[in-house]
């Protein structure tokens, strides 16, 4: 990690010149206790000193206590997330490009600047995925610090809620789900791996490379879940790969040449051939009674399953001929062997009904990239070649796809729609062509550090504008005079409701991490004994079913499960996806079968849940902590403001204040709870403006 950060920083210096960024113009002016200014880029804390780089390029070291308190606070923050001179310079440049095009298109400029109260709600929801508490709202509203917006953005980007909310996005995009694979095969370690990567802020290109090149089962190499997830549906998996990684939907070309685009059927199979010798699952040759004839697995003896079966039949009373006696054992062996391997005997063949040109039915095809340069595969596996080709800076699609998606997260609308299928013509005709090119290059410059990329977007004037009042048609060009109005994701609604019922402690609470299941599969065949594999099987058998997903390892190295309850957890910490019929499901959480399938539409069951559901009853009931706290406030005016701060995170206007006060004057404490109910059930609650 350290090394790659350093490389990125070196890269920044080189790339900035080319991009015309002027970080020194944006560098913070630090103030000494005597009031002397120092304009410099902050490099970090070194013991009791701060290190800076000055405009003439020299590095200087100054004792901490020479600076005023506000600057010391800023130094603590920047030390964790990195100096923001580059960030702010990039944000300014982006604003300039956007504003220039807006003017060209006849717009005066951006929408009006977002007031503080709407800003705080928006960044809490956008960055950490939930509304702010009343205290968090007031703290920001009352702060007089000049840099309070940039500071709040940084602070939120460093909170666990940031990766939690980012996880929800990727869980949808990569269709993360832990269960419903063949007879007890699970993907919990893969799901947890994603949580971990986002918490570590691993660069996106590294995440992708690791997934593409993974070898082994999901316990040994959790990233292998990416390929194992679609075992048995390899061509569909490849069609998804095209959409998610390249922003190209080539699924039509599986059966015929693409009707609108340039892709042909042979293109599909040649590109798919990068996975042509990727074997997923240790298949069992020989029918339903399952002989010992499994395929290979990395670092395992060729006939490890046969050996294990002989061992179990000789010593453990297993009889493979009796399905009831051996069913669970077979399931465990299958889960253990459910792995990704490169198998040189496998190849990609054209389908028997191939109709396109460039090949004949059943021809063997070699891998060929769909766009850009050829992949270099010499001395590498096909998948390694693919990963390097994909994430190389000169790949024409990889950076733009993820930059466009991250843009969509901030602005509610992507530059290229839909995010998983746009072609070069559309890129050329983008509504904001220069800004699109710029953010694509910025994605590469920041080394796919998504947190830094989002930090740039959140610091733009464009983002910090009020939402556009009229819904732009998806078919029309939109020039990004500000974000558009968005409904909360199901997970944002869930996390906000959790906050209201359980308080901000939910941000820190962890759910089951898949470690128990991981340990049962994470065997090193070189050293493990048959007896130890058998021990894992017995644990597997006694913890089968849904319990398995909630089981965690009690202590490192000790194979003993502890069980986790789903209570009071944020959406990202729950089983993925969450239960059918749950509030998350009702509000549109994807069932993770196809990519980007979150549904933002409303429904009657949704509003019934907000009107009469358990969270509402709890929050507006007599033992509600929120309502009890509001009752303690000084008089109806403060109480009305308190309810607004709690639910809509804004100031009530005069009329709203009057309506609320009358309610409280007429109905007392009941009035407070009624007002809370009403704000939760006004459409504004579910929207991010």
């Amino acid at each position: 990690m350290k090394n790659s950060t350093r490389t990125v920083i070196r890269g920044i210096f080189i790339a900035l010149f080319a991009l015309g960024l002027a970080p020194f113009a944006e560098a913070r002016t630090w103030t000494s206790t005597e009031g002397k200014p120092l304009q410099a880029i902050f490099l970090g804390i070194d013991g009791a000193n701060y290190k800076f780089k000055t405009a003439n390029g020299t590095e200087i070291t100054v004792p901490k206590d020479r600076f005023i308190k506000a600057d010391q606070e800023a130094a603590e923050r920047l030390n964790k997330i990195g100096d923001d001179s580059y960030t702010l310079a990039s944000a300014r440049k982006l604003d300039l490009l956007l504003a220039t095009q807006l003017k060209k298109q006849g717009f005066a400029s951006f929408n009006k600047p977002l007031p503080d109260d709407l800003f705080v709600r928006r960044v809490y929801l956008d960055i950490i995925g939930r509304i702010p508490t009343r205290d968090e709202f007031i703290e920001f509203a009352e702060s007089a610090r000049e840099d309070k917006r940039a500071a709040l953005i940084d602070e939120l980007l460093l909170r666990p809620g940031y990766s939690s909310h980012m996880f929800n996005y990727f869980a949808d995009m990569f269709r993360l789900h832990a269960t419903d694979f063949n007879n007890g095969v699970r993907m919990d370690p893969y799901v947890q791996w994603w949580r971990d990567q986002l918490a570590l802020n691993t660069p996106y290109d590294e995440i992708v490379s690791e997934m593409i090149t993974a070898q082994g089962n999901v316990g040994q190499t959790p990233a292998s879940g990416f390929l194992l997830r679609d075992t048995g549906m390899e061509f569909d998996a490849f069609a998804n790969f095209g959409q998610v990684m390249l922003g190209i939907d080539i699924s039509c070309a599986q059966c015929h040449d693409h009707p609108f685009d340039e892709w042909t059927q042979i293109d599909f199979y040649k590109m798919a051939a990068f996975f042509g010798n990727t074997q997923r699952e240790a298949r069992i040759a020989g029918g339903s009674m399952m002989s010992a004839n499994y395929a290979n697995m990395p670092n395992a003896p060729e006939n490890w399953i046969g050996e294990m079966i002989s061992f179990a039949e000789a010593n453990k009373g297993i009889n493979m001929k009796n399905p009831d006696n051996s069913r669970q054992f077979r399931y465990y062996l299958r889960a253990l062997g459910w792995n990704v391997t490169d198998n040189e005997n496998m190849e990609t063949k054209l389908p028997h009904d191939f109709r396109g040109s460039g090949g004949k039915p059943n021809d063997v095809v070699d891998p060929r990239t769909l766009v850009g340069k050829a992949a270099k595969t010499g001395g590498k596996t096909r998948r390694q070649g693919l990963a390097e080709w994909l994430t190389a800076p000169e790949n024409p699609r990889f950076a733009i796809v993820i930059a466009n998606r991250m843009w969509q997260r901030a602005f509610g609308r992507a530059m290229m729609i839909p995010v998983n299928d746009f072609n070069d013509d559309q890129i050329a005709k983008a509504s904001q062509p220069e800004a699109l090119k710029f953010v694509t290059r910025e994605m590469i410059r920041v080394g796919y550090d998504l947190r830094e990329f989002m930090r740039i977007l959140y610091n733009t004037r464009a983002y910090q504008s009020i939402s556009t009042a009229e819904e732009p048609d998806w078919a029309d060009d939109y020039y990004f005079s500000g974000p558009i109005l968005r409904r909360m994701r199901a997970e944002q609604a869930w996390d906000s409701l959790m906050l209201l019922s359980s308080g901000p402690e939910i941000d820190e609470k962890k759910g089951a991490d898949g470690s128990f299941y991981k340990a049962l599969l994470d065997v090193d065949f070189k050293t493990i004994s048959n007896e130890a594999i058998w021990e894992r099987y017995e644990l597997w058998k006694s913890n089968r079913g849904n319990r398995m997903g909630n089981a965690m390892i009690a202590e490192a190295g000790v194979l003993e499960p502890v069980y986790f309850s789903d209570n009071e957890l944020r959406a990202s910490e729950l089983p993925q996806p969450y239960l059918p019929g749950s509030l998350l499901d009702t509000f549109g959480q994807s069932d993770r079968i196809i990519t980007d399938d979150h549904n933002f539409d409303g429904s009657v069951p949704q509003v019934l849940a907000l009107m009469n559901g358990s969270v509402t009853s709890q929050m507006t009931g007599i033992s509600s902590k929120i309502v009890n706290d509001l009752e303690e406030l000084d008089g109806p005016g403060d109480q009305v403001r308190g309810v607004f701060f709690t639910l809509l995170n804004r100031y009530p206007d005069d009329e709203e204040l009057k309506i609320g006060m009358t309610m409280i004057e007429d109905y007392g404490d009941d009035g407070i709870s009624d007002l809370a109910w009403s704000l939760m059930n006004s459409p504004e609650f579910l929207f991010i403006q």
Partner: protein
């Protein structure tokens, strides 16, 4: 809002858009806007208005139910005579045997899907399960093609599941899921007295107005509608359609979830819901067949035979297709655990009511129930046949948002001669 007549006059694209917008306005789906009359004529022979699809999940054994044979393959089951000559049933289905004149038994179902999930998927959608698209089940597809039938109540309900979606169609067409047939619609119990509830609603509306006016977006506006509908629903008697607690013949249906689900289906259809899917599990009988069928088949027998009688007495049978579907049959050879394993090569489904000619058997298997001998029917054909019976044009193409074309039953061949 644009006037209905104005929209109806526009081209088919805007009419479709209009339908979708209208469909959005209700419980899972539509209130207050009566649907446009259908513009095309129903096909010959098609006279059904409603569909009750009883889905027996796990793979119903065909030999022990609707395709009994002689000899070893029968295991614990004996064939019994029915009301109709030449129609024989397993001995655990006496109620259905006594109503054989209402049933068309299809004994030539055949599928290539030997796994539950894939098999169920195609039997419910007509399409193979893919990782790149989700296909709608019959309920939402029928609503898409035929428009919404009722006003407040949804057009389709799925009983025995707590979630559902409409696939690539507008999410508003998703069937309303009811997990427990006797549990009603979730979150419809109001915890405060009426007057206070009204006060809350009124204030929510007052405080919400400015936001609604500030943003000209469909989203917030649609929530205003959903709140109106939810409020209407909570106060309307239509919710009673989901309450089966007072039904006098509840005992005849049986206390099983399948029985109570069929009772709810009858009540919903009677109240204007077009499609009700009742899903019941427990048919994956790998071991101890005798015990398993001893539990499940009497449930099926009581539930379905009561349903048919009940619909007939209420004059609804002619307009309601009752279908029994399952993903595959079970091996004619009994396995070492005295059970039967998955068997997609030959299996049975049933159609009744809604213009179906009763007392008939379509297709046949060989003497041991292993191979389809005549008139093979694939899942696609089964779905298309139901579509035909419901009066849809099974050739009409519906496009997904990515412009992929789909038809009701995936170009399956409707077997029109099943209708009389």
């Amino acid at each position: 809002m644009t006037h209905i007549a104005e929209l109806a006059g526009k081209d088919s694209l805007s009419r479709r858009y209009f339908m979708e917008q209208t469909a959005k306005l209700s419980l899972g789906v539509g209130l207050s806007v009566p649907f446009l009359p259908k513009t095309f004529l129903a096909q010959d022979g098609a006279k059904a208005k409603n569909l009750i699809y009883i889905y027996l999940s796990g793979g119903m054994t065909h030999l022990d139910t609707f395709d009994p044979k002689r000899g070893d393959v029968m295991g614990p089951t004996e064939a019994i005579d029915s009301k109709v000559d030449n129609m024989k049933f397993g001995n655990l289905l006496p109620g259905l045997a006594s109503q054989a004149d209402k049933l068309c038994v299809i004994n030539s179902m055949s599928s290539i899907n030997g796994a539950h999930e894939q098999g169920q998927y195609i039997m419910r959608t007509g399409y193979n399960k893919r990782a790149t698209i989700v296909h709608p089940t019959m309920g939402p597809f029928l609503e898409k093609l035929l428009g919404k039938q009722g006003e407040i109540l949804p057009d389709s309900v799925v009983v025995g599941r707590s979630t559902s979606n409409a696939g690539y169609l507008n999410p508003a067409l998703a069937p309303l899921p009811i997990g427990d047939p006797s549990g009603g619609v979730p979150n419809t119990t109001v915890s405060v007295e009426n007057e206070r509830f009204d006060r809350r609603m009124e204030m929510a509306q007052k405080l919400g107005n400015k936001f609604i006016e500030k943003f000209k977006y469909n989203g917030p506006q649609s929530y205003v509608e959903y709140y109106k509908q939810a409020n209407t629903l909570l106060k309307s008697s239509e919710l009673d359609a989901f309450d089966i607690s007072g039904e006098s013949n509840s005992g005849d249906y049986g206390s099983s979830r399948l029985g109570q689900g069929c009772l709810l289906a009858r009540k919903l259809v009677e109240n204007g819901v077009r499609t009700v899917e009742v899903i019941s599990g427990g048919f994956d009988m790998h071991s101890d067949l005798q015990t398993s069928i001893g539990t499940k088949l009497p449930e099926v027998d009581a539930a379905v035979s009561t349903l048919l009688k009940d619909l007939e007495e209420r004059g609804l049978l002619d307009s309601t297709i009752v279908a029994i579907g399952t993903e595959f049959g079970r091996t004619p050879d009994i396995n070492v655990n005295s059970g039967r394993d998955h068997y997609p090569a030959a299996y049975s489904c049933v159609l009744a009511g809604g213009g179906i000619k009763g007392g008939t058997v379509y297709g046949s298997t060989d003497g041991s129930g292993k191979k389809v001998k005549s008139d093979p029917m694939r899942p696609e054909d089964f779905v298309a046949t139901i579509g035909y019976g419901m009066g849809v044009d099974t050739k009409e193409k519906i496009y997904s948002p990515t412009q992929r074309p789909f038809t009701f039953g995936n170009d399956g061949k409707p077997v029109t001669k099943l209708f009389g």
